[in-house]
């Protein structure tokens, strides 16, 4: 599965989010390719799941990917809940 972590710049909060997602996926034993990208790149990359903030989530919704807004980008619990929600639907 391919996960995109999206923020404004592509190397601040999105990298932070990627670190959290990597940890969670590793703990769960789920194999996934996690990439941190900026908002404009995100619109042209195919992914199964997109993790981002509230603002970008509403703009990225409607595509093929499952989009989830994360409030605390460092919270393993919150990211794990998002990933569980995605996995249960697929």
């Amino acid at each position: 599965m391919k996960v995109l972590c999206v923020c404004g710049m592509g190397f601040g909060s999105s990298l932070l989010l990627k670190m959290t997602a990597d940890k969670v996926l590793k703990n769960k034993g789920v194999k996934a390719d996690v990439e941190a990208v900026d908002f404009s790149t995100a619109q042209s990359v195919q992914a199964d799941m997109i993790l981002t903030n509230n603002e970008f989530a509403s703009q990225l919704q409607g595509g093929r990917a499952f989009v989830k807004a994360i409030v605390n980008m460092a919270s393993e619990q919150e990211v794990e809940n998002a990933i569980d929600e995605f996995l249960s639907q697929n």
Partner: protein, 152 residues
Amino acid sequence: MSDYQLDENCIQWFNEKVNWQEAIALSAAPLIKKGAVTKKYTEAMVENINQLGPYILIAPNVALPHARPENGVKEAGVALTVFQQDVEFPADSSGEEKQARVFICLAAVDSESHLNMLQTISGWIDNEELINSLLNSESQKEIQQLLYSSKN
């Protein structure tokens, strides 16, 4: 585990009520002072928020002001500032107003080399107890003690 130790000069505490532009300028000031970023960096952060919305709000009450390396970064650095009063941000497209009080200003030279700084920052933010203590802190010294004694 990587551990990034903040300079004493890069820890600040403010009592004054400030707007978000002032808060970003204040949070970047220690990095400008030590030559890690130029003044242009502050302008870029403010401009980015004007364009993209308050994307720097990465957790409840926590902001991570940053811009791109080419916006005036000379060397990597982090500065942490606690404002005792809420800093209000413009509403995002959902109309929801957001505020923050802990500002972690990040200067990165590229997308790889600041990973240990981010890991440390991630450890702070995921530590609810630490964030609550920071929010309740009453001096620069107190923040310093909290950060230096927190384990990642």
